[in-house]
Amino acid sequence: MNLLLGAWTIGLILSLLALGVYISFRVFHFPDITADGSITFGASIAAVLIVQGRDPFLASAAACLGGALAGATTGVLHAKFGVHKLLSGILVMTALYSVNLHVLSKANVPLLDATTVITVAERAGARLFGEAASFQVAGWTVGLYDAASLAFALLATMLVAGAMYAFFCTNLGTAMRATGDNDQMIRALGVSVENMTILGLAISNALIGLSGALLAQYQGFADVQMGIGMVVWGLASVIIGQALVGELYLGLTIVGAIMGSVLFRLLVAIALRWGLDPNDLKLVTALFVFGALVLPKLLARTRRKAAQPNHA
């Protein structure tokens, strides 16, 4: 049960990263590598502020702002200075490495007995459901801390996804989506493609920074190396989601990215639960993801084959 709740919680926390990657990669067709740096940046800002005794929600908001700043920098490098998309992301990610070391002032900041958003949620849960450290759900023992983390991550993801959907339905959001699809058309309509790109990347990395802040609070530490490879997992989630729900409808693709992230962490957890040789962990993870990607296509093909006799 712990493992299940933990996988769901990390999946949901990292779905904020997936949503950020969704904006840069799907909406803007911008392969934005800043994510590796901005997730750590968010985690570092939140961790340092929390250790100083600031309010964890304010700290998370500050992490959001930090991420937005990082994303905007990438956008400016690309839009105003004409640096290649990939390279502008690489530059900001590289620079953030040093920035993160300065923010943390060492390589790793523990948050083991600090007040985090999760402990606040736990206290709220204790007030609602009594003080017991664990309770029973259909025969399984559930720790209050785990349940509170999951509930909080679920709430945060739903809020962010809802806000994102609402935003992309506004005039500004529609213009932003159009920028990614056809920048010549949108330029002809009098919208600044440059400003749209900068704003879009800022929003994208704000979500990624928030994801990092929550991850640090959930795991109990911020580490300067925690961002390594994260953009890849974000991309994987977005693409798994796309394979599952298609790419026609805005709301569905947003839900798809979240599902992709949760599914991905569940698959990793299953691989762990099998207790296989630790060296094989990544191989098995890759195989699982491959399976999740091809399954929809296989299903569609068998369905089409089954449907053919009727048309003949």
């Binding site: 049960m1 712990n2 493992l3 299940l4 933990g6 996988a7 990390i10 990292l14 490495y97 070391l101 060492k106 390589a107 790793n108 523990p110 083991l112 007995d113 399984w140 720790g143 991850l215 959930y218 795991q219 109990g220 530490f221 580490d223 300067v224 190396q225 925690m226 390594i228 994260m230 997992w233 989601g241 599952l244 729900v245 298609g246 409808y249 709301g251 569905l252 839900v255 798809g256 599902m259 992709g260 949760v262 599914l263 962490r265 569940l266 698959l267 990793v268 957890a269 299953i270 762990l272 639960r273 207790g275 630790p278 060296n279 962990l281 990544k282 999740a292 399954l295 929809p296 299903l299």
Partner: protein, 339 residues
């Protein structure tokens, strides 16, 4: 609405399936009574030589305590392969499988075990400082379910040795990886020991293995009298290029890891990771025998021994003093006797 359901069903079905798979694969009921077998989960952060050596030491420590694998305890191994997001899941997975003891190697896994282990006893090793990692405020005043072994580097011994056998060495050079928690901590100690001995340190930062050859050239170009490399994961795997740059510049190379003596270090005051692990294994055995980790102080492993490589020195045009060689022989003999 129907369209939404139709589009989502596959994803939802897969998620439900995976969740159910995880839920129903929980371990059976925990054995009770004093004769129960302890489930020890060995959790590593990455696959590097020193971490593996420490782990082997811990397993040896368990065996030497008189406990028998299969009868008294069972071992389960996991390794996050350097992926920070997996570290928590490793601990969750261990807890789900009714782990009775978590044996963690490196700082991130220790922190995840404290946070996510639900009070399962934790014994850690391969950590530079348990206090810096958040396990306690002192070696005796620590979290009640955590104990372990942290390792310090033989800087004071090394400084004394340099003063005695290489009296002209004043300025030392080292590469530094600011991203490695251990190295940041080691650098503070290094600087303290050096300033006490009246020496200066030149530091060149690196962040990836590919930077190391260039950084090593930059380091030897800094008018230093010797290279004295701090231990760390990254520099351990790229030590050869550090030694090469120093040899070409005819500088002595001092190191703190035994493996580096084979890669061109001339003198090393080495920590024995294996033995530090053995100490942690002995602590784990005490926990299994019923002692509370709260009463077992965290230990600092500081014992070191001297290793020399006269050929490497000759390649750089340096002759190691005879007295130093004799001392190395004695310490190596004593060390072999320990094993």
């Amino acid at each position: 609405m129907w369209l939404v359901v139709k589009r989502l069903w596959l994803g939802l079905a897969l998620i439900l399936l995976a969740s159910a798979g995880l839920l129903f694969s929980g371990a059976g009921p925990r054995q009770s009574g004093s004769a129960r077998k302890w489930n020890i989960h060995v959790i590593q952060y990455n696959d590097v030589l020193d971490s593996n050596e420490t782990k082997e030491g811990a397993l040896a420590g368990l065996r030497e305590s008189g406990l028998v694998e299969g009868r008294d305890y069972e071992l389960h191994f996991s390794n996050a392969q350097g992926d920070m997001a997996t570290v928590s899941a490793l601990v969750d997975s261990a807890v789900t499988q009714n782990a009775d003891l978590l044996l963690t190697f490196s700082t991130p896994t220790l922190q995840a075990a404290i946070r996510r282990g639900k009070g399962t006893p934790v014994v850690f090793a391969y950590v530079a400082s348990g206090i810096a990692a958040g396990a306690g405020t002192s070696h005796t005043d620590h979290l009640p379910f955590v104990t372990g072994v942290d390792i310090s580097v033989g800087y004071p011994q090394m400084m004394a040795l340099v003063k005695e056998y290489f009296p002209r060495v004043r300025r030392l050079g080292t590469l530094h990886v600011p991203a490695e928690t251990n190295m940041v901590y080691f650098l503070e100690q290094f600087q303290e020991a050096a300033s006490k001995a009246g020496m200066e340190i030149e530091v060149v930062p690196v962040s990836t293995a590919t930077d190391v050859p260039d950084a090593a050239q930059a380091l030897v170009g800094k008018r230093i009298d010797a290279v004295m490399q701090m231990p760390g994961n990254l520099v351990a795997s790229a030590f050869g290029s550090i030694a090469r740059a120093a040899t070409q510049a005819h500088l002595p190379v001092f190191a703190f890891q035994k493996a580096q003596v084979e890669q061109g270090a001339m003198v090393a005051i080495t920590r024995e990771y294996f033995d530090s692990g053995r100490l942690a294994g002995a602590q784990a055995a005490r926990v299994i025998r019923g002692e509370s980790p709260a009463r077992i102080p965290m230990e600092n492993f500081s014992s070191t021994y001297l290793v020399v490589n006269p050929e490497a020195a000759r390649a750089a045009g340096i002759t190691l003093p005879h007295a130093l060689l004799r001392r190395a022989e004695q310490e190596a003999g004593a060390h072999r006797g320990n094993h």
